[in-house]
């Protein structure tokens, strides 16, 4: 599947990436300029001067008192995208205005709406509250992926690949061998894939971070809200341990693995990843270990998917695939994405 749904919210950046300097990132083939104003708000507008399309993030363009001055001819824009000065004349053309993007900053993420701003309903943005909760410690990063975003969706919806692609890190034989349960909430537009391993080998990723060794109970509960936010609720516990009836779970370690899958172009993707844990909150060694190892795992996926993109891009449309049981969740995700894609191509319809 190429293309990406419009009239949808996408993660454009971590909050920590955007300060009082010009920052540019291409989201769904649209170059967007960001900065944090003196009042602390993040702005999002087109990163192209309306005059001759010079990138406003490109030096010698510069930011002065919350106004961006184009480095080519001096067109100047305020934080609302309106032009405040043009060179050599006092009249400012009526159309001298940068396109602005609806923006929401929450859960340490900066979300932008790609599509018709009139359809931007912030209540539809899925939440990941652990990313900035004091009850969790989070490590995070972003890797560029030279592949269409649907390949990363396929990858993350089927974690059986951990056994083969990520052996020695997060993969153990039980992951590929344990049956999954898939649920699709069609109205909410969410795919859930659960794999509960009652007696599994503890992979190094969790052995070194939790201190558990040998056999463990390992639960993987995926919650994917297309198109952008993927959450893996990971529970690691001694064999035989289950949560109490009241929901407390004192013997378990909880790791919330979050991905934001944001198309850059039709054939490249921003692969945001974050790992939030509810144990060893102040242990810097654990943070460093999880950050390094998760990045390694992400880069293993990136290397594989970059190859896959080149292979698929070189094949004619409609290439033959084979799907088996492990693909049940991925097929469900594809269906929801297809529905969003079709809706965004039909005027007046959004899902």
């Amino acid at each position: 599947m190429t293309g990406f749904p419009r009239d949808q919210w996408y993660v454009a950046a971590y909050s920590s990436e955007i300060g009082p300097e010009l920052f540019s990132r291409t989201i769904c083939a649209e170059p967007i300029l960001f900065w944090r104003t003196r009042s602390g708000q993040v702005t999002a507008m087109s990163d192209r001067c309306v005059h001759r399309r010079f990138p406003l993030s490109q030096a010698p363009s510069r930011l002065v008192d919350d106004q961006v001055i184009c480095g080519y001819h001096g067109f100047t824009y305020g934080a609302d995208g309106g032009c405040t000065a043009v060179p050599g004349q006092t009249r400012i053309p009526r159309t001298a205005r940068l396109r602005r993007y609806p923006l929401v900053e929450q859960d340490s993420l900066v979300w932008v709406f790609i599509g018709d701003p009139a359809r931007a309903d912030a209540a539809r943005i899925p939440r990941a509250p652990y990313l900035d909760s004091p009850d969790y410690t989070t490590v995070a990063g972003m890797e560029p992926l030279a592949a269409r975003f649907s390949l990363l969706v396929d990858n993350l919806l089927d974690l059986s690949h951990e056994t083969y692609l990520h052996g020695g890190y997060i993969g153990t034989p039980e992951v590929a061998a344990t049956p999954i349960t898939t649920e699709v909430d069609d109205e909410a537009g969410v795919v859930h894939v659960s794999r509960h391993m009652a007696d599994a080998e503890c992979p190094p990723f969790y052995a070194k971070s939790t201190g558990l060794h040998g056999r463990i109970s390992r639960w993987q509960d995926i919650e994917y809200t297309p198109p952008c936010l993927y959450k893996l609720h990971s529970r690691i516990a001694p064999v035989g341990s289950v949560p109490n009836a009241d929901g407390s779970d004192p013997d378990a370690f909880h790791v919330e693995v979050v991905y934001a899958i944001t198309p850059e172009t039709e054939h490249s993707t921003h692969d945001f990843w974050a790992v939030a844990r509810d144990f060893a909150l102040d242990d810097q060694d654990v943070s460093a270990f999880l950050a390094e190892n998760n990045r390694t795992v992400v880069l293993q996926d990136v290397a594989a998917l970059n190859v896959l993109e080149r292979v698929i891009a070189g094949e004619p449309e409609g290439y033959q695939e084979l799907s088996i049981n492990i693909d049940t969740g991925g097929l469900a995700a594809r269906r929801l994405l297809r529905r969003q894609l079709d809706a965004s191509r039909t005027p007046g319809v959004a899902s």
Binding site: P179, T182, E183, D327, T328, L331
Partner: protein, 79 residues
């Protein structure tokens, strides 16, 4: 450590499709939000059947007569 999130094995909702990998087999059991069930060996055919609701979907109590529940994908409508 924080309390575990609520059990996610069954999600509430009026239009939830469920697919269970039948333990000890290579079969998948599809459960529609209308309660119709059917077993498959191919997830593509499974989703075609689930999404064809209400076509070919009958309540479990009547499927025993029709033989739909527990039968593999032969005869599944693939429109």
């Amino acid at each position: 450590m924080n309390p575990a999130p609520a059990n996610r094995s069954v999600h509430p909702g009026d239009r939830v499709y469920r697919v269970h990998w039948v333990l000890g087999t290579d079969r998948l059991r599809a459960v529609c939000h209308c309660s119709a069930e059917r077993e498959f060996e191919d997830p593509v055919q499974l989703w075609e059947w689930l999404l064809s609701h209400p076509d070919g979907h009958v309540a479990p109590q009547s499927t025993s007569d029709s033989g739909a529940t527990g039968t593999p994908e032969r005869g599944v409508r693939t429109a």
